[in-house]
């Protein structure tokens, strides 16, 4: 009987070997998959029990961790939740994390490889793992000015402001309205969290939306900056040229009034007018004509050089780790009628406030569009700098000379045209207003404004978008509301 006993012994060895392989597979090779799974409550509990790093604006935390006396050791707190909600995002129960909290999660939680040595030291000295800090590019004054000015508008305001440093692409301000209390989502009580999350998700005004980055709408007349840039880089025009004018423009391929573009009573001459006048008075007729003159392909190329049809911003993320950036759209394969409309920022053109701020910033930075970024520095818990973001060029949109021509047009628009509300004493400001038809019945037009200052050596470029507010329909146009907001932000930056 010994032979079969030996075979049984081999069989038992094989069973043990199978278990050893299985355990090694589960606990070593597949360990990371399951240990990082957001539905693994151990992960959540562990992170809640950890001294998560702070998110800093300047040296002030806008997201911080405080000792807690409930079942977890620490509580995430947001000292100014409404002001910073669109950038910090929230750190909530059940692995629901957004914004910079999400995109920089590995540093904040302390799991990042760049914190490996620190973690090793902590392990040896038996200290709890401490997360690193993330310093943002946000300028606290600009952020505050933008938020106050935006929310001071009458009624329930829906809108956003984004400000960029043209030379670097640093995002100086990103506010949205309505905003929400991030602390409501950081509560440890799961039922309370679930209730708060449902309320915010179901809110018609969409407070969780970062309208500065996530909402792409028709940019209206602010898009004329791109059209002007295309016209000037075609070589046929400069700031002092004459461009087509007139009270109406019949779109090619159309007939009758429905195909006519007008200027809503602004003085756009009859026949050729100076380029500056066309810009100052935001002449739809001139820019529709210019768009068709340079053609759909050149318009597309120019728009894409400013960043349209691209994803370029990853510092804010959804829970699933995808960027929240909405892609700004300039349509391809348009016919001439559509190109004409696109030239004045209508038809299917869509832009986020971030994108329009980049258009201004690109013109301001001698034609170079910088990649926008929000995370300036990563620091260890001991405030030692681990990594600093280097500014990166996204595209050259214009030559320096052509950029200067466009700047001249925009300065004239503030000095003598529709963008006058953004004028600042003693400083040349370049700007452009915009009013975009929503295209939806009963939905009022969107008010846009974008500008940069000082015109020479610009420190800040800003875009304001008012999706809706309690403003009479006829007052939406002309930068009456957007202009002062942009001015407040620019002043906040330049004062320093």
């Amino acid at each position: 009987m010994n032979k079969p006993i030996r075979i049984v012994a081999i069989l038992c060895l094989a069973m043990v070997a199978a278990l050893l392989v299985g355990a090694t597979w589960r606990q070593f090779f597949k360990a990371d998959d399951f240990a990082d799974d957001a539905t693994n409550r151990r992960v959540v509990d562990e992170e809640f029990s950890r001294d998560r790093g702070a998110i800093l604006v300047g040296r002030t935390p806008v997201a911080d961790t405080k000792p807690s006396d409930d079942r977890y050791e620490y509580q995430r707190t947001y000292p100014e939740p409404f002001l910073y909600a669109p950038v910090t995002g929230y750190y909530a129960y059940g692995g629901s994390i957004t914004g910079v909290e999400r995109s920089q999660n590995s540093i904040l939680s302390g799991e990042d490889d760049r914190l490996f040595v620190k973690r090793l030291v902590d392990m040896v000295t038996n200290d709890a793992t401490q997360g690193g800090d993330v310093a943002l590019t946000i300028d606290a004054d600009a952020q505050r000015a933008a938020y106050d000015a935006l929310t001071d508008l009458p009624g329930d305001v829906q809108g956003a402001v984004v400000a960029i440093e043209p030379k670097t692409g640093k995002i100086l301000a990103n506010v949205t309205s309505p905003s929400f209390n991030t602390n409501d989502l950081a509560v440890h009580d799961q039922n309370q969290w679930s209730k708060n999350a449902k309320r915010l998700e179901n809110d018609e005004d969409q407070p969780l939306l970062n309208r500065g980055v996530q909402t792409a709408l028709a940019p209206g007349s602010t898009f004329k900056i791109v059209t002007a840039a295309a016209a000037i880089s075609s070589g046929k025009y400069d700031a002092d040229s004459m461009v087509p004018g007139g009270a109406t423009y019949q779109l090619p391929l159309t007939s009758g009034e429905s195909g006519q573009i007008g200027n809503e009573g602004r003085d756009c001459g009859s026949g050729p007018i100076p380029f500056k006048q066309a810009m100052e008075n935001s002449c739809n007729t001139s820019f529709a004509a210019l768009a068709n003159e340079v053609g759909a392909d050149a318009m597309l190329e120019q728009a894409e050089k400013f960043g349209f049809n691209q994803e370029y911003f990853d510092d804010l993320q959804r829970t699933d780790g995808e960027s929240i950036q909405a892609i700004s759209v300039f349509p391809e394969d348009m016919d001439e009628a559509q190109t004409g409309q696109a030239g004045i920022g209508q038809f299917d053109v869509r832009a986020t406030p971030l994108q329009m701020a980049m258009v201004s910033a690109g013109v301001a930075n001698q034609g170079v569009v910088m990649k926008p970024y929000l995370v300036d520095e990563l620091q260890s818990a001991d405030s030692e700098v681990l990594e600093r973001t280097d500014p990166e060029q996204l595209h050259r949109a214009l030559s320096a000379e052509d950029a200067q021509e466009v700047t001249d047009l925009m300065v004239a628009t503030v000095a003598e045209g529709t963008a006058y509300p953004a004028a600042i004493d003693g400083i040349d400001v370049a700007g452009k207003t915009g009013t975009a038809q929503s295209g939806i019945e009963d939905v009022p037009p969107y008010a846009w404004f974008t500008s940069f200052a000082p015109a020479e050596n610009a420190q800040v470029a800003v875009a304001v978008m008012i999706q809706s507010a309690d403003i009479p329909r006829e007052e939406i146009a002309g930068g009456v509301y957007g202009g002062p907001i942009a001015k407040a932000v620019m002043e906040a930056v330049i004062d320093e």
Partner: protein
């Protein structure tokens, strides 16, 4: 190999080695127990001395008994069992601390271990020769069948967590299947020793394998019927697989015919497939067999049975996988994991709980210990001088190995998860007591096998005396 032949090689008793290994085993058990309190509460347990002293006494009593009545027994089996038992109790204690002040499963487990050691000693003292058991072949067989059927009776039988394998008499609850598995091994060994020649007769030859004769299939079909009855009537896939598995392996060892393995393996798989198909396509019959289908579905798609909007029936398995992954290579340390998230963490799922807090390192150590235990048991079978002893030791060693494979393999998702205890470690009196009796029986067989033979020098009788023909 010299150790295989009883002639010309004398085993040493190796009691000193056993004593040394026992010190290591005690270090594991007591060390783990103290570390649990340090990790969870930050201080030594109030009953540290009492607990340690008790454990030392139990182990000492077992060791002394072996020295007295089974001096040549295998020196590895007892230390391995003691270490596993101690480590298991520490993890049970850790889950007690997580469950709250009133939970005292570990204390109860220590009492059960005491009962187990008492029975272990009694077995060794009163059973001086394992061949005596052969006399009780049919008594054991009948006893096993009765025990297995008890939980299906009304009143005393009770269904817990979907399996009907418990009986309740007054305040006592008991899993008769654990005792039945020992009786079954004895019964199989006794029966097969007598009938192995008939069963070994070859029948049809298919693909290089001699299949058994059709007329010899009786016992196999009987066991298959019993296995299916346990599966359907008691909803216990684990026990069913275990009992059938032991029988098949012992049948194979007794007859040396691999054909038996093939016939019975196919039979069991066919049985399972039939049940799975019935559960899927014939709802009227299926509802009695749905548990088997559920088990297999959870095995294949655990995450479809986890979380909101599902039946959550896969929670136990998924939490075990999460916990073991969370433990990783070296574990979180006692008190740093969340093993209480796994339901039945202190009984069926104890390996997952240990994997989470002590890591892959401890899981490997434990699996190697089981491997060692089983192989030492089979070694006793190899060197045993009688066929009954060989079959008995093979059966007992294999029952431990198969049980570990079924439960740990289930937790690791190698096979569908079925409820079985992890020998020596899981909380549960019947299982622990039964396993200590298994150790005693294996030690008895190995003692007999390793004991020096009595002096076999030729006697005065002339050589031809033995061959004389009695003439009338």
């Amino acid at each position: 190999m010299p150790s295989m032949t009883p002639f010309g090689f004398t085993h040493r008793s190796r009691r000193g080695a056993e004593a040394f290994l026992l010190v290591l085993a005690l270090a594991v058990g007591i060390g783990a127990y103290l570390y649990v309190d340090l990790g969870v509460r930050g201080e030594f347990p109030p009953n540290a001395w009492l607990y340690s002293g008790w454990l030392v006494l139990l182990v000492l009593a077992a060791h002394v008994t072996i020295r007295l009545v089974a001096p040549y027994a295998d020196p590895v089996l007892l230390p391995v069992a003691a270490a596993l038992n101690g480590l298991g109790m520490a993890e049970i204690h850790r889950l007690d601390l997580a469950a709250g002040e009133d939970s005292a499963v570990a204390e109860r487990q220590l009492l059960w271990m005491t009962v187990g050691i008492v029975l272990f000693i009694a077995t060794l003292v009163f059973l001086r020769d394992h061949r005596v058991l052969q006399r009780y072949t049919y008594t054991c067989g009948l006893g096993a069948v009765v025990l297995l059927l008890l939980p299906m009776l009304p009143v005393i039988g009770q269904e817990i967590n979907g399996a009907r394998i418990w009986i309740h008499i007054g305040p006592l609850s008991f899993q008769p299947g654990e005792i039945a598995k020992i009786l079954l091994v004895i019964a199989f060994a006794g029966y097969l020793v007598l009938h192995r020649d008939a069963l070994a007769l070859a029948g049809r030859r298919v693909l290089f394998v001699d299949l058994p004769r059709g007329r010899d299939l009786g016992p196999l079909l009987l066991m298959f019927g019993l296995a299916m009855l346990i599966l359907v009537g008691q909803k216990d896939l684990g026990s069913s697989l275990l009992f059938f598995g032991i029988f098949v392996i012992m049948l194979y060892v007794a007859t040396e015919r691999p054909g038996w393995l093939i016939v019975s393996g196919s039979l069991f798989v066919a049985g399972l497939a039939t049940i799975y198909a019935l559960a899927t396509y014939v709802p009227a019959i299926g509802k009695y067999m749905a548990h088997v289908k559920t088990r297999i579905d959870i095995w294949l798609h655990p995450f479809s049975y986890y979380g909101e909007g599902t039946t959550d029936a896969g929670r136990q398995l998924v939490e075990a996988m999460y916990g073991m992954a969370w433990g990783g290579l070296i574990g979180r340390g006692f008190g740093e994991g969340q093993p209480w998230r796994i339901s039945y963490a202190n009984s069926d799922m104890i390996i997952a709980a240990i994997g989470e807090e002590l890591g892959l390192t401890a899981v490997i150590a434990i699996l190697v210990c089981y491997g060692l235990f089983v192989e030492r048991g089979l070694k006793a079978a190899l060197i045993s001088r009688d066929d009954f002893g060989k079959l008995l030791a093979t059966g007992l060693a294999f029952v431990v190995g198969l049980q570990v494979f079924v439960i740990v393999g289930g937790i690791l998702r190698l096979i569908p998860l079925t409820g079985l205890t992890t020998p020596f470690m899981s909380a549960g009196g019947s299982s622990l007591v039964a396993n200590w009796v298994i150790v005693a029986l294996l030690l008895r067989v190995s003692d007999q096998a390793r004991r020096p033979l009595p002096d076999l020098q030729p006697t005065e009788t002339p050589d031809d005396a033995a061959t004389q023909v009695v003439k009338l």
